[in-house]
């Protein structure tokens, strides 16, 4: 069953520019639903550098990616945005003037008047290690995420990686797998100390194996994996029996379905004007890192500016014929009411 949601604006991407777009649209009484492929807001700020300081946000001499995200969400809160995480927008179709339909891989359908693409570097997707032939096993024996644990019951599971995903799945799958091997390139793990401890206990109890090295090759037939080649830290080569390989090498950004939406692209970026930051399709806007125009700078602050101007045109589409009064938050009682401060 597909759930259908109707709203003024759908914002694709909950990174800093998407979050600030909610605020700017909200000041003009436009309601937003926000969709993001990650499990939380923040985009690159959350995924790539949550703890690293950013030094070029106006009036914030230093702020971490996580803190900037929290503050932007707080700023957008009065406008009651609806967030839809863990969802990728797979299709975007124009049914008429200011009438768009979007669908997600999470079986949601959105009907809206304006679309704002704030997708940054594209959607975050799992890194696929370039092991020769790996693609022939994807979906049958190679999985980059675990959708259903039961599918791995009774399998010879091989997990590769040293972060939280690798260790969490090692500990969770060990009881149901026929055998479980964890491969990591070094005997040190970035994952939470608790889960590392638990894994080491399982190894000591002889319930799973830990091997230090890197997977360099795969063998099998008809999309079914039978073994993986391991190159040990000492250079020694060995084979591991497996019919379920789970590589956890973090995420990378791919443009993804955006490329198929009929928008004019320039070198994988969406071309927009600099008055409204509108794409080649009226009613679809693009703000932040994903857009391009002469002189574009990929800075968070540029995306903020773009969001403010985009909102003006979005208002005109959604309220045709209505006068748009320019107001300051410092002096407008009307805006202050919306913000809940007056």
């Amino acid at each position: 069953m597909t759930d259908v949601i109707s709203t003024d604006v759908v914002v694709i991407g909950a990174g800093p520019c998407g979050l600030f777009a909610i605020f700017e649209l909200g000041l003009l009484d436009l309601k937003c639903h926000v969709i993001d492929i990650l499990d939380r807001a923040g985009g690159q700020c959350a995924e790539l550098y949550p703890e690293k300081p950013i030094y070029d946000i106006p009036a914030l001499p230093t702020v971490t990616g996580a803190e900037l995200t929290t503050r932007l969400m707080e700023q957008a809160k009065p406008f009651k945005p609806h967030y839809h995480f863990n969802q990728m927008v797979t299709s975007l179709e124009k049914r008429g003037d200011n009438d768009f339909v979007l669908t997600t891989d999470g079986a949601l359908e959105f009907h809206c008047k304006v679309v704002v693409i704030a997708a940054g570097g594209g959607s975050f997707q799992p890194k696929k290690p370039p092991i020769p032939g790996i693609e022939t096993y994807e979906g049958t024996s190679v999985f980059y995420s675990v959708k259903k644990m039961e599918a791995l019951r009774g399998k010879d599971v091989l997990i590769v990686g040293g972060g939280d995903s690798a260790l969490d799945w090692t500990n969770n799958l060990q009881p149901i797998a026929k055998s479980l091997t964890l491969v990591h390139r070094r005997d040190e793990f970035r994952a939470a100390p608790d889960s590392v401890k638990k894994m080491r206990e399982l190894v000591e109890a002889g319930k799973m194996q830990l091997k230090i090295g890197q997977v360099t090759g795969l063998s099998g037939a008809d999309g079914v994996l039978s073994a993986a080649t391991l190159k040990g830290a000492d250079g020694a080569v060995s084979e591991i029996t497996t019919n379920a390989l789970l590589p956890f090498f973090g995420l990378t950004m791919k443009l993804g379905p955006v490329a198929d939406w009929g928008l004019n692209l320039t070198e994988n970026l969406i071309a927009v004007d600099t008055e409204k930051f509108e794409t080649s399709v009226p009613g679809i806007f693009a703000v932040g890192d994903i857009n391009t125009y002469p002189g574009k700078l990929k800075l968070i602050l540029s995306g903020f500016h773009e969001a403010a101007l985009m909102a003006q045109q979005a208002f005109r589409y959604i309220n045709p014929g209505e006068r748009l009064l320019f107001q300051y938050t410092t002096s407008s009682t009307n805006l202050q009411k919306k913000l809940g401060v007056n």
């Binding site: 790539l48 090498f249 973090g250």
Partner: protein
């Protein structure tokens, strides 16, 4: 100025002049060296600027820092001479540096 040579997987060599204080990754990006993706823009947060230091330069370039060591978990085919080029500052002492670019960053 320091001349840095990036050796592509197919053997093609691209030389770029690095300015002291910049990183090897920034030098590569500025000269549009293929294979140095640098998704995160130098925050040591993505491991897509992975290079192999040629043996004769390994000592001069120095050792990995702890953050980089963690981040290399996200790289593929990590070897003894693996470094993230965003963590190597160009200095005059590195004039002539030669690094190999992996076939794929991911």
């Amino acid at each position: 100025m320091a001349k840095i040579t990036f050796i592509q997987h197919n053997g093609t060599e691209i030389s770029a002049s690095g300015v002291a204080g910049m990183t090897v990754m920034e030098t590569a990006v500025k000269h549009q060296v293929p294979g140095i993706d640098a998704d995160c823009g130098g925050a040591c947060a993505c491991a897509t600027c992975h290079v192999y230091i040629e043996p004769e330069w390994k000592e001069k370039v120095g050792a990995r820092n702890p953050m980089e060591e963690d981040m290399l978990d996200f790289a593929f085919d990590v070897r003894d001479n693996s470094r993230l080029s965003c963590q190597i500052k160009v200095t005059d002492a590195l004039d002539g540096l030669r690094v190999k670019v992996p076939e794929k960053q991911f």
